[in-house]
């Protein structure tokens, strides 16, 4: 299956979002708002849930399925206050020894005037720095679209899982084509060249696991897709909770440390 074909599935109008998954993944969930600095970003959802009896902090990018939902969540493109809300909830999780589950699903961080005024670059950089040193297990799952630094800000983790059809890239295929080939219409060619599928990312050592989707994609059977995600969490989380914190942070650093392609 080509990256382009995966992309069509990810773009499927009825593809489940984190709001669909929440009640299917967690026995209970309490949403928490705000970054305590500026505001509450609808593009990033946060809260405390319980999975398999274990309390966890949930941080997720929110796609909407209609215009109204998308206006509330800004098409899943976070502002700096979204990333600062993520940082606040991550520190809270650390304090209470709760693991963190991050769900990535964004075209990228928002590009706008307010985002620049409030330091989009700083917010993303700080998120990565804080998550790298966070003294509690962090699992990240790419649900659909992992767009650039805006995705990576929730992707500094102990283990990265990709949904079977999810994609994760430095720039959208359209952006890639328009910048490098000056021709946005070569989107399909770009998608297939960029190596952005779950399999590619496992091969590069960027992702560790692929979570299977029902035939045809998660939208064909959201409950089954949620069951697969839940099974993955229940199987993986206890493993990371047993690792001593110092070792956990050492491994997390090394996971990113080893990525690169160069010669000397």
């Amino acid at each position: 299956m080509t990256a382009w074909e995966h992309l069509q599935i990810v773009r499927e109008k009825n593809r489940p979002t984190i709001r669909d998954y929440l009640p299917l993944l967690f026995e209970e969930f309490v949403e928490l708002h705000g970054d305590r600095l500026y505001g509450d970003d609808g593009a990033i959802l946060g809260g405390i849930g319980r999975v398999g009896g274990q309390p966890v902090t949930v941080i997720a990018q929110v796609k909407g399925r209609d215009l109204k939902e998308n206006q509330q969540s800004n098409f899943a493109m976070p502002h700096p206050e979204g990333y600062r809300k993520a940082q606040r909830l991550a520190r809270q999780a650390e304090k209470f020894h709760r693991p963190v589950l991050c769900f990535i699903d964004t075209p990228g961080a928002y590009c706008g005037v307010g985002a620049e005024e409030r330091g989009q670059g700083e917010a993303i950089a700080r998120s990565m720095m804080e998550f790298m040193e966070l003294k509690t297990p962090v699992l990240s799952i790419v649900l659909g679209e992992g767009g650039s630094g805006g995705a990576l800000a929730l992707g500094v983790c102990d283990q990265l899982a990709m949904m079977e059809h999810a994609l994760y890239s430095v720039i959208s295929p359209r952006g890639f084509a328009s910048i490098l080939w000056k021709d946005a219409s070569k989107e399909q060619e770009a998608a297939n060249l960029m190596r952005i599928t779950a399999e590619d990312l496992v091969r590069f050592g960027v992702a560790e696991t692929i979570i299977p989707e029902p035939a045809g994609g998660a939208h064909m059977d959201p409950e089954k897709a949620a069951g697969n995600i839940r099974a993955y969490i229940l199987e993986t989380l206890p493993k990371y909770m047993q690792i001593p914190i110092a070792k956990l942070l050492e491994n997390r650093y090394d996971k990113f440390r080893k990525v690169g392609a160069f010669t000397e």
Partner: protein, 292 residues
């Protein structure tokens, strides 16, 4: 008046000669320099003598890494790290190896950053200098690895880091590997910081994209040269989103200072002294030196 007389003189960037060790600055062949910010034209000699700062609008033009090193590093103290490191072609992007080779021949660089160890005003530190001539100093595997090693070595040697940033963002030609360098460098900065060591960032024109969203924004002290472009998203991308023109000073160093993301704006001729002073204020012997 001058700009009227010479308005037809165009700056051809391709006319830069290979580095000539004449004074501190490379001297372009052109007689005149046209400022890309205010559009005024001045004699090249005058422009070079003012350390490549536009006398009309204070735009601090881009320097090569070598020029920057001449400007701030104590003479003959730089020991370079990882000089031979080269990128591979992880997504087999057509023409990428050829481009790297061409730029190596043209600039003498292997990639977009020089790193090493030196003294500035007598203060020992690790230093990194990015160079926009090399693919707009985009961050790929080499920039990411060299920055990471710089911080790791500084942590090991208990040295401060001074990093001159400039970048168009992530190097898309390296696909997802370029994105991951953001997390990798942020991790190395975190460890250096946890060891109680000082990191000074100097934002130079232009610092944008994935570099702004990683190590450039993580300094304990963040300095910027006047009029420097500093931002996350490209101006045209934002203009496209909001469907209107942005004000001239949007994403300038002055804009970043006003919004609280830069500690100080430091003109080029004062940079060396300011960095030296900050390093001294963080060195353990600084109190004793002040007493003497």
């Amino acid at each position: 008046m001058l700009q009227d007389l010479f308005s037809k003189v165009k700056l051809r960037t391709s006319s830069y000669e290979r580095p000539r060790r004449q004074g501190k600055m490379e001297i372009p062949k052109d007689l005149m320099y046209k400022c890309p910010r205010c559009g005024k034209v001045i004699f090249m000699e005058e422009f070079v003598q003012s350390n490549k700062v536009c006398p009309y609008c204070e735009y601090h033009a881009r320097l090569t890494a070598q020029e920057r090193i001449h400007l701030v590093v104590d003479n003959f103290t730089l020991l370079k790290y990882d000089k031979g490191m080269k990128s591979q072609n992880p997504i087999q992007f057509e023409g990428y190896p050829e481009k790297l080779y061409y730029l190596h021949r043209k600039t003498g660089l292997r990639d977009a950053i020089i790193t090493g160890e030196c003294t500035i005003m007598g203060q020992r530190c690790c230093i990194g200098v990015m160079d926009t001539r090399f693919m707009m100093a985009s961050m790929g595997s080499v920039v990411g690895e060299k920055v990471t090693r710089l911080f790791e070595r500084a942590t090991e040697k208990k040295l401060p880091v001074v990093l001159f940033t400039a970048s168009g963002g992530a190097r898309m030609q390296e696909g997802i590997l370029s994105l991951m360098q953001m997390a990798k460098t942020a991790g190395a900065v975190a460890r250096h910081s946890r060891a109680g060591l000082l990191y000074i960032t100097v934002l130079t024109d232009p610092t944008t994209g994935g570099v702004t969203a990683s190590f450039a924004s993580l300094g304990d002290i963040i300095l910027a040269e006047p009029k420097t472009l500093i931002g996350f998203a490209g101006r045209r991308v934002i203009e496209g989103t909001i469907k209107q023109r942005l004000p001239e000073d949007f994403q300038s160093a002055e804009f970043a200072l006003q919004h609280g993301f830069v500690d100080r704006i430091v003109p080029r001729d004062q940079l060396r002294r300011t960095i030296g002073q900050l390093l001294r204020l963080h060195s353990q012997t600084s109190g004793k030196e002040a007493d003497q």
